[in-house]
Amino acid sequence: MTEPGYEILSLDDLERYPGGSGQEPVLMPLRRRLGFRPFGVNCWTATAAGGQVIQPHSEPGGDEELYVVVRGRATFTVRDETVDAPAGTLVHVPPDTPRRAVAAQDGTLVLAVGAKPGEAFDPVPWEEFHIAFSKLRSGKDPDGARSIVADVLARYPDTWEGEYNAACFEAVAGDPDAAFAHLQTALERNREVVARYAPDDGDLASLRDDPRWRELLR
């Protein structure tokens, strides 16, 4: 229900965008749905108990994050420490810290809030890319997926993140020439971070036997 100046929403009404494999988290894009601008806020769920609800990552860009278990139960691992997190649990993770979470119950839902201290929030385009990947992998709307990628690159023409994710998208879509072109631009913009991510990124697996891979990442 939307009224001028405010909106009522049930989290159950958010769209759901599964990740790449059946085990990856499902994005429920809250920030984008509301048009919320001050910081990042999204919901994540798992396909079933045992599935990832927060993908392994570390926020090397400097975001601090708070995870709130809204429903169900999750098992969080931060660095090497693991904790059982029933509904109502809050987990705070500083930047550049490995973290992941697995749903311990069906229907587990985690709210993730994040931003970089001391800086105005600028929504980097990972939300759109997650949605584009979900559409591409489901095979239901590949044209829609490609349109999202083009739109993001037009709106964020100078970011390394956009080019890196476009490289991943094209690699998964089966266009290595386009993938290498985007990867090269991403490396030119932030070689340190891209060279850190790329070797272990499953989305780029199809590129690794190509001689251009070794040339770019040497």
């Binding site: 229900m1 009224e3 001028p4 100046g5 405010y6 909106e7 009522i8 929403l9 049930s10 989290l11 159950d12 509301l34 048009g35 919320f36 601008r37 001050p38 910081f39 806020v41 975001d63 601090e64 708070l66 709130v68 809204v70 429903r71 969080f76 931060v78 660095r79 420490e81 904790v83 997190a85 029933p86 509904a87 109502g88 649990t89 809050l90 987990v91 705070h92 993770v93 500083p94 839902l109 709210l111 809030v113 994040g114 931003a115 970089k116 201290p117 001391g118 800086e119 105005a120 929030f121």
Partner: protein
């Protein structure tokens, strides 16, 4: 690991009937505003009636547990677990009553396009129990710590002056009230009728409203 259940957070009871569960402060979060609230009992306030005009915040109120009756710009909405209200217009008056005693509402807020600053009201809320119990030294210390991070914040200076006046530290109260009024004249108007200043209202230097 920095982990806590919402029920393990501090309970700061406020006079308006709600209980503040200071999430941001507990974890030392700097990047965004986040707090949880409960009613003191079923039927009591769970979100204070207020606007965000002075801070310019967009706010999300998510019901984590129980039920709450929100009043947003005069409209009433009963929300349960997993339901939220997003108030994008800072000038809209909003508040909520907890319909269940164990209701918990998570509030997220910040100003679009600006780095997050810790809101001054957190120190004022934190000092409220000490002020209520007339532990003025504690209330003054909380305000002084907040002012060390936000020097010359008029609301903090004004509330510090209130505590100092009640603690019979009249000269300190006058100095801090005067500074608050210099920074924003509305505080001089508030001081004219604020009972905290009854003992110093006739002192030379009391700011004119």
């Amino acid at each position: 690991m920095n982990v806590a259940h919402v029920d393990e957070l501090d309970r700061i009871e406020l006079d308006e009937g709600f209980v503040w569960r200071p999430v941001r402060r507990h974890f030392g979060i700097r990047a965004f505003g986040v707090n949880a609230y409960s009613p003191r009992e079923a039927g009591a306030q769970v979100v204070e009636e207020h606007t965000e005009e002075s801070l310019g915040h967009e706010e999300i109120y998510l019901v984590l547990r129980g039920r709450a009756r929100f009043t947003i710009g005069g409209d009433e909405h009963d929300l349960g677990p997993g339901q939220l209200v997003f108030v994008r217009d800072p000038s809209l008056r909003r508040g909520a009553v907890g319909l269940d005693a164990d209701t918990v509402v998570l509030a997220l807020g910040g100003k679009p396009g600006a780095a997050h600053e810790v809101s001054a009201w957190e120190a004022i809320f934190l000092a409220a129990p000490a002020a209520r119990e007339e532990r003025f030294d504690d209330a003054i210390r909380i305000h002084e710590e907040a002012l060390a991070e936000r020097p010359d914040h008029p609301a903090l200076l004004y509330n510090l002056a209130c505590m100092e006046a009640r603690a019979h530290r009249h000269l300190d109260a006058l100095l801090h009230l005067k500074r608050a009024a210099e920074l924003d004249p509305k505080w001089a108007r508030y001081a004219e009728t604020d009972s905290d200043f009854a003992a110093i209202r006739e002192e030379p230097g009391f700011p004119a409203g």
